[in-house]
């Protein structure tokens, strides 16, 4: 559904290759010159349960997936129960007839499992059956399907090609060419937020990545580990998030550009190290992804409830930079920019992600050449004059990396310029003043770069942040609403100077995925606004907004 948008859903059990089928479909549509957006929903288990992947595609940029799909493949009975209601008016439902009891079922049955059983590990292969059915339906020929399988299913490729061909032949007489999609020259990469942020950090000079697995950040660890050789970086999975953060900080002492990836709970374990990075003035870059909380919550589902967590974490007063990308293309550039900033200011930075941003994927035009490059202020002079914590007007002291003849001390203590701890009242004040001046310098710098995105020119103002920006953009485009979407990219220091122009008018509509309106409360605090409860559109059921549902709620609020 959605004007000019075609949506494909594949549902099945965990272990059937459902997400992989979504990825293959994304590649198929990209090859047709179409924009895609892919979102996956899965449970925290390896086998069984219900997983589905939805891919929405259009000739225009598409920033969300639609609940009502035009082509649905149900690989198991449960998927049929769930998704048979999600068919658009002229949509086609295909089900795996081997997974259903005999009888009359809505849709078109294809013997996907029995075809798969002709090959080893049949249950791992059924997802590919959905790709074959989709290929037949949109008019991809056998040769095209074979090329797609070679690109996406390279392990045991010959059996995969044979299996896909079998399903294609079964599907073709029933649905072959039934849906004709507009096409053009092939489009660029489809990237998840985690991939985009990983590559952005690499473009800025990443040398080492440390992470402990935690959904929804793990795919960043897996992606960087898989490509560590090609990228020339070190990727390490140590014993805990505490080790992750402290190793990364140690590595910055040696001069390596580092990043760590985690989710809200793991970030909680890193909090003491965050404060250490603030005090020692270590450029620690953290990507923390939000999922449903509190505590273990719902590990694989989406929410934006970590805003206060990342803004307030860490004892004591120290400057930090917090930013949250609004789409996957921005995620690439912002990760690079944040790497640059933490090294420019030698202080911790947090990229706040969320499940939908990190794990959903969309067509992006990555601007590699404009990626920031992390280059710290280095000391030049005689070694005996080096002071790690030399007082400067902007609070940033020049760095030296070992091996050096200078005594180069980094410390978690209040210290003198050399880095030796002290309880002297004057030096305690000086340490605080240095960090405070640094915070002010960060704000001065942020005033010179883009810290807020706006989309559209109308009234009223709709404020949102993080991946909810995607849903709001899609809903506004779908409903043709005349409003202005305002998305603060940076959340600390909060760019009040850039969003301040909306003070004085009617209060904004706020859209976010939390139950208490954390973002709305932050805007009230930072902008001195009062935002009526009715202006705040919340969703907290673990799923990102559906564009149609959000469009209806926006119409009501505006």
């Amino acid at each position: 559904m959605g004007e000019g948008v075609f949506t494909f859903i594949v549902g099945g059990k965990a272990g059937e290759g459902v997400k992989k089928a979504g990825e293959a479909a994304s590649r198929l549509f990209s090859g047709m010159g179409r924009h895609v957006f892919q979102a996956d929903e899965y449970e925290s288990l390896i086998k069984g349960g219900h997983n589905f992947s939805s891919v929405s595609t259009s000739m225009r940029p598409v920033t969300g997936t639609y609940l009502k799909a035009d082509f649905v493949v149900c690989l198991d009975r449960r998927s049929h129960e769930i998704h048979r209601e999600h068919i658009s008016k002229n949509g086609i439902l295909v089900y795996n007839s081997d997974a259903m009891p005999a009888g009359q079922w809505k849709g078109i049955g294809l013997p996907i499992s029995s075809a798969a059983k002709k090959f080893p590990n049949p249950e791992l292969r059924v997802g590919l059956g959905a790709v074959a059915a989709l290929s037949a339906c949109v008019g991809l020929d056998r040769a095209g399907l074979e090329a797609l399988v070679r690109a996406e299913y390279s392990r045991d490729v010959d059996n995969n090609i044979a299996f896909a061909g079998m399903v294609w032949e079964a599907a073709n007489p029933l649905i072959g060419g039934r849906i004709r999609l507009e096409s053009g020259p092939a489009r660029g990469q489809v990237l998840s937020g985690n991939q985009a942020m990983a590559l952005g950090a690499c473009a800025a000079g990443l040398d080492m990545f440390f992470a402990y697995p935690m959904t929804p950040s793990s795919s960043m660890l897996h992606y960087l580990a898989a490509h560590a050789g090609q990228l020339g970086i070190t990727v390490m999975h140590p014993e805990s998030e505490i080790a992750v953060a402290n190793m990364a900080i140690g590595a910055t002492y040696s001069g390596a550009r580092t990043m760590v990836g985690t989710a809200g709970g793991g970030f909680g374990l890193m909090v003491e190290a965050l404060s250490l990075a603030g005090c020692a003035e270590a450029p620690l870059l953290v990507m923390s992804a939000c999922r449903v909380g509190p505590s273990t919550g719902a590990a694989t589902l989406h929410e934006q409830s970590d805003l206060r967590h990342v803004l307030g974490a860490g004892h004591g007063e120290f400057p930090r930079i917090v930013a949250s990308p609004g789409d996957m293309g921005e995620a690439f550039g912002l990760a690079a920019e944040m790497m640059g900033l933490v090294w420019m200011f030698q202080t911790p930075g947090i990229i706040l992600g969320d499940k939908h941003l990190c794990e959903s994927a969309m067509t992006v035009d990555v601007d590699i050449g404009n990626a920031a490059w992390a280059e710290p202020l280095m000391f030049s002079g005689p070694a005996e004059e080096y002071r790690r914590y030399r007082q400067t007007t902007d609070g940033v002291s020049p760095l030296l990396f070992p091996p050096v003849d200078a005594v180069n001390k980094w410390t978690s203590h209040v210290r003198d310029e050399l880095g030796i701890s002290t309880e002297d009242s004057g030096l305690i004040e000086e340490t605080h003043d240095k960090l405070r001046r640094k915070g002010e310098a960060i704000e001065r710098h942020l005033r010179t770069i883009t810290t807020v995105n706006t989309f559209g020119h109308g009234d009223p103002v709709v404020m949102t942040y993080g991946s909810t920006t995607l849903a709001v953009r899609e809903a506004v485009a779908l409903a043709g609403l005349d409003c202005r979407i305002v998305q603060p990219i940076y959340l600390e220091p909060f760019p009040g100077w850039a969003v301040g122009c909306f003070r004085g008018g009617p209060p904004p509509v706020v859209v976010e995925q939390s139950s208490t309106g954390m973002f709305a409360r932050l805007l009230e605090e930072k902008m001195g606004l009062e935002i009526p409860r009715d202006n705040v559109i919340l969703k907290y059921d673990g799923r990102p907004f559906d564009p149609e549902g959000l469009a209806a709620r926006l119409r009501e609020a505006i």
């Binding site: 805990s240 390596a256 005594v407 001390k409």
Partner: protein
């Protein structure tokens, strides 16, 4: 203590504290290392928090004063990012056997090429004498006024079992022996663990006990099994190197080969080309008309 390895920071260890001896042994070891081809510029020193941690302020050497319990994680980060460096960690028993024991066990398991010097006095001295992980059962402290209900940890067998490739014990009452142990530990190509028996004159004065019970091993155990037997002895507190295995690759080599992440940094163009290489996978598909 005016020498070029001692800072201007006022020393606040209690008179008679075992830390003075460990400090002197470490300085002596740093000089010996300098004489044998490892200059100070190649050393990095990390410390945790506790009485031992003051070593960081007193010693004129570069490094990182970390968090309580985390000095070994910091040390491993420094080492991985620049494997040329010799990283020496001063840690405490509460610090490293309590709060941060995960990092100790995993550093041993992965054979991280760092040297760990544990100031083991059985108490949390800086926080006024609570019983630490190696403190005796029944020992009284402000958090266990009725006596410690737990058994002490014997760390040497645990380290052997965890895969440490250099396991030693020293005593602050034997500075020359201890400084030799430190030199050997730093020279070991892998994880080097030195438990240092240290009396705390204020809260756990063990001078008399250690002077009687310690004994320098001669010869040192020649096998893992002998090392384990010697480490398990409770009648005598044996000193020296219990075990050394130089055949296992150091962690940084196993993880990243000969690459030095902070010293062999590719330039921006190379990085961008690599990123572009990952992005540039065009779709090979063909479509029916």
């Amino acid at each position: 203590m005016a020498d070029d390895l001692t800072s201007y920071r006022e020393n606040t260890w209690c008179p008679g504290c075992g830390n003075f001896a460990i400090f002197n042994a470490l300085k002596k070891a740093v000089r010996k290392l300098g004489d044998s081809g490892t200059p100070r510029r190649m050393l990095a020193h990390t410390a945790g928090i506790g009485c031992h941690g003051k070593m960081f302020d007193y010693l004129m050497l570069g490094g990182f004063c970390s968090l309580h319990g985390r000095a070994l994680a910091t040390a491993q980060g420094i080492k991985l990012a620049n494997p040329q460096l010799k990283v020496i960690s001063s840690v405490g028993d509460g610090d490293c056997y309590g709060e941060g024991i995960e990092h100790l066990i995993f550093a041993a398991k992965r054979n991280a090429d760092i040297t760990v010097l544990v100031h083991d006095n059985g108490v949390y001295g800086l926080t006024t004498g609570q019983v630490a992980p190696t403190g005796a059962r029944g020992a009284r402290g402000p958090s266990t006024p009725q006596g410690n209900p737990e058994e002490p940890l014997n760390m040497l067998p645990l380290m052997l079992e965890a895969g440490a490739t250099f396991v030693a014990r020293g005593y602050s009452g034997n500075i020359d022996h201890l400084s030799d142990l430190i030199v050997r530990a730093v020279g070991h190509p892998g994880f080097a663990f030195v438990d240092i028996l240290q009396p705390c004159v204020s809260f756990n004065n063990t001078y008399e006990k250690y002077n009687k019970a310690t004994e320098v091993m001669s010869p040192e155990p020649a096998s893992f099994d002998d090392a384990m037997k010697a480490a398990r002895r409770t009648d005598r507190m044996l000193l020296g190197v219990f075990f050394q295995d130089m055949s296992r690759p150091a962690h940084h080599v196993a993880l990243q080969g000969q690459r030095n992440p902070s010293q062999d940094r590719p330039d921006r163009k190379t990085r961008l080309d690599r990123v572009a290489g990952l992005l540039g996978t065009p779709h090979p598909g063909r479509f029916a008309p």
